[in-house]
Amino acid sequence: MTAERTWTRSHLLGLEELSADEILSILDTAQSLKEVSTRSIKKVPALRGKVMVNLFFEDSTRTKTSFSLAAQRLSADVIDFSVSTSSVSKGETLRDTARNIEAMGVDVIVVRHRSSGAPLLLSQCVECSVINAGDGSHEHPTQGLLDLFTIRETFEARGKKISDLHVAIVGDIANSRVARSNIHALTKLGARVTLVGPSTLVPGDMKKIHPNIAIAHDLDAVLPQVDVINMLRIQFERLTSAAFPSVREYSRFFGLTHERLKLCRPDVLVLHPGPMNRGLEINTNVADGDHSAILRQVSNGLAVRMAVLYLCVGANSVARNLA
């Protein structure tokens, strides 16, 4: 008899600590929830009566909106905790902020913070679920998952598994939590990963994370070899520093232009976490073209976040019930 797969984690802090099976469980749950968004009544009652708090210390419209919509599709209530106007600006610690919110009776806190490890700290001082929406340069697990989901969906239709694929991640890898989450997810499922960017932004010791990882600084040489290209956003504040001479030079060497696309395999998949700097790291025709899955990433992101909320809040309910 097929044993039923279960989920036991209350928190999603990163992909590094998950097993391949756990990652697949989230993807499969997301797959089953995708159809909810195609119905006329786009809701299921799974998290009815549960409360989700968006605790965003860094700006974000798309991730916050995606989580909010995901929670509402599961019939949960959503509260936005606006940091700039909150007690935090009066000097309250992260720990106190979280515990005060929890005292009002919330079931899950979705947190984005500029310090790596902030979600972990939170998970150790509250009883509710904690979901990491991006912490410093550490991880952005739901982004990694939705990228993986998009890749799996595309290539399964072509009869290929993740372990058959070669994925290039291009850009400021050193400072990218999206890159790190992608790296963990892809290598755990057996894909080959090549990190591409200027040597100042792609540190050599990232190869140590997994044997399937390679590093390259010549994008044109890598393009013909890959099935998927994940273009990271240029982060201006970092680029015009010692790391790289100018935005235009970065764009010339590492931007995905229309000409560069011709070097790629005919059915290459192009991903971008958004928001895009059109004309800089990605050419406008490429972004809108047939190879691009950028809009699909957004709708998959909704299904993935629904899955993560359902699984973690559910497991947390079970754990608290048994306590």
Binding site: T2, T6, S32, L33, V36, R39
Partner: protein, 178 residues
């Protein structure tokens, strides 16, 4: 473990149920009847029923949908574990159609309650009837089955009725676990 139905008896029971559905005129007026099975064993039963009915009928097979009720259950916090859902597959509209909801065991009625909530989110059937392989008659909700394979009178909550159907399981059998 007592065997209530072996593979052959399961097949016979499904055949009898198919005959009853096929003969019931009230189901065949107007829009085509649809079967919706609760995942996973209800779906297996619904598929087998549809095959039997097609055999009796000579017409093409009825449409069969698969309903995953994981997201509609009322026991999120009292469950022992959170399971990975399989998802619902209903590639047809339910509006104004007669629907037979199919499940393997009718026990407390809570699963069927959840299934009714789920179905109603997909459309507005003309009516919904319930067909089950086994009726345990330990109702906690006022739900009744319209077509029943066998009734099992075992009020002891420790005794479980276990239905095994291929391909979810390795065999076709209905046990009473004592």
């Amino acid at each position: 473990m007592q065997i209530l139905l072996d593979a052959q008896h399961i097949q016979q029971t499904i055949r009898q149920l198919a005959q009853r559905v096929h003969a019931d005129a009230s189901l065949h007026n107007g829009h085509a009847l649809a079967l919706v099975g609760i995942r996973s064993r209800g779906e297996i039963l619904a598929q087998r029923l549809a095959d039997e009915i097609a055999r009796l009928d000579g017409h093409s097979k009825l449409e069969v949908g698969a309903l995953d009720i994981t997201m509609y259950r009322d026991d999120l916090s009292t469950r022992a574990a959170i399971t990975i859902p399989q998802g619902t597959e209903m590639n047809f509209r339910l509006d104004d159609r007669p629907v037979i909801l199919v499940d393997d065991v009718l026990d407390t009625g809570r699963s069927v309650r959840a299934a009714l909530d789920a179905l109603v989110d997909f459309g507005r059937p003309r009516f919904i009837r319930l067909l089950v392989l086994v009726d345990r008659e330990r109702r906690e909700y006022p739900i009744a089955a319209d077509y029943v394979g066998i009734k099992v009178d075992a009020p002891d909550p420790e005794q479980k009725v276990l239905v095994r159907l291929r391909p979810t399981d390795d065999e076709d059998v209905v046990y009473l676990q004592t």
